[in-house]
Symmetry: C2
Subunit: 220 residues, 2 copies
C-alpha cells in the first residue's frame, strides 16, 4: 500500500480514483460526512461461490465503519473470516441534464472503503449496537429494550478501519462543450433528496419521542 | 447453476436468499420493478487488486441490465473482460423502530443480479444510450444532441442478462416479540422516499420540457 498523505492523495493505489480524478477526495472529513449521512452501504466480497454485493445497515464510530447482522449471514461470515471487503456508500443528489447526451451526468457523493473487518466482542459489542440505535434515532437506546444475552449472542458485529478509502463527489450544473452552449436544449439539474415522510405509528397510545415528532416536520 | 422455476425458487444456489427467506422474491416482475425505479446500482467485481464495489448508472432494456461509461473505467474494463460481476440495486423505504433494539429493521427493496456482462456494439449501442436518456427523462433523446462517432467510440456499453438474481423486500411495521408488546416504547416506521426537488435551470431562456415542468410538482 502506498502511504500517501490523505489530504493530498489516495492511501493506496487500489483506492485511487482514475476517472474524473478532480472529483476525488481523500480527506477523512469528507469520508465521515458521507458515511454519517448514510443508513445503508453495499458490501462486496468474494467467496467460493463468486463475488457478491450485499446491502446492509452501517454506522460509524470514530475510525471504523460498523456492520452487523445475524450470525447466519453469509456476508458477515465471509467478512469475519478475514477476506478483503469493499464497502461503498452512495448518495444520489440529482440528474444532470446537459445539452449533449454525452455530457449528461449525475450529482452524487460516494465513499469506497477497502479493508479487512475485525469482529467486535465484549462490552464494546453492546455499546456499538447502542451506537447504531442512536444513529437511527437519537435517544432511543435509552427507550427500547436492549438486547438480552441470547440476542447479543445471535448477532455478529464487525468493523472496518477507515484507512484505505476514496470519496468521489459531483455537484453543480452540466459541463457542456462550448460548441453546444447555443443549442436550444433545456439544461440543468433535477435534484433528489432522500426525504422523510410522515411517521407510521404502531403505538398511537404512546407519546411520540422527539425524533419521531421531528420526522418529516422540518421542511422535508 | 440449479435451474429452478423463478416463480417459486432461486435460479442458482448463489442467488438463494438464506436470511429472512420469506422476504425473497425470484419473479422477474418484481426484479423489473426494482430495477426500473433505480438510477444507480453498485457493481461488485474482482481483479488483481482485489474486490471492488463501484456505483454507476443503470437502466433496463428487456431482459438485460445496462451499464455504461468511459472506456477508461477500471470497472467497465474488468466487467467487459468476462469476469463474474454482482450488480445490486437498493431502495431504502424506511427505518423500522421496534420495541426491542434486536427487532429494529429497515424497509427496503433490493435486487442482486449475478452474471457476466456482454459488450454492446453496433447500432444497438447508440440505441441503448438513447434508452438511458429516456429512462432519465422521457422524450429527451429527441432533444439533446446525440453522441457523435467520437463520443460513441469513447463510451463502453455493457449489459448483464437478468437470469440469475434474487430480490428481497421488507415492508410494513415492526415485528416485535409478544413479550415486548406491552412495553411503553414508541414503535412504528419512519418512512423515506427519494424525493424530487425543484429543478435548477442552466437555461432560463428555454421553455421547460414536460419532464422538467413535472419534476417536484406531483406532490413530491
Amino acid at each position: 500500500m502506498d502511504e500517501v498523505n490523505q489530504k493530498t492523495g489516495p492511501l493506496s493505489e487500489r483506492a485511487r480514483v482514475r476517472r474524473e480524478a478532480h472529483r476525488a477526495d481523500y480527506d477523512r472529513t469528507m469520508l465521515d460526512a458521507i458515511v454519517d449521512a448514510a443508513y445503508v452501504c453495499h458490501v462486496a466480497f468474494t467467496d467460493a461461490r463468486g463475488t457478491h454485493c450485499i446491502p446492509t445497515a452501517c454506522w460509524r464510530q470514530g475510525d471504523y465503519l460498523y456492520l452487523h447482522g445475524s450470525n447466519g449471514s453469509q456476508m458477515l461470515k465471509a467478512a469475519a473470516s478475514g477476506v478483503q471487503v469493499c464497502v461503498t456508500v452512495t448518495h444520489l443528489d440529482g440528474l444532470v441534464l446537459a445539452r449533449s447526451t454525452f455530457n449528461h451526468s449525475m450529482n452524487y457523493r460516494t465513499a469506497v472503503i477497502y479493508g479487512v473487518c475485525e469482529t467486535v466482542t465484549g462490552e464494546h459489542k453492546a455499546e456499538s449496537l447502542d451506537a447504531l440505535v442512536e444513529h437511527i434515532a437519537r435517544g432511543r437506546s435509552h427507550e427500547a429494550r436492549r438486547g438480552n444475552p441470547k440476542e447479543l449472542a445471535a448477532t455478529t458485529v464487525l468493523r472496518l478501519p477507515l484507512t484505505e478509502f476514496a470519496c468521489k463527489i459531483r455537484a453543480g450544473g452540466p459541463n457542456d462543450d462550448e460548441d453546444d452552449l447555443d443549442l436550444p436544449v433545456w439544461a440543468g439539474v433535477l435534484p433528489f433528496e432522500l426525504a422523510q415522510r410522515p411517521a407510521i405509528a404502531d403505538t398511537p397510545q404512546i407519546d411520540e419521542p422527539v425524533y419521531v415528532a421531528k420526522w418529516a416536520k422540518d421542511g422535508n
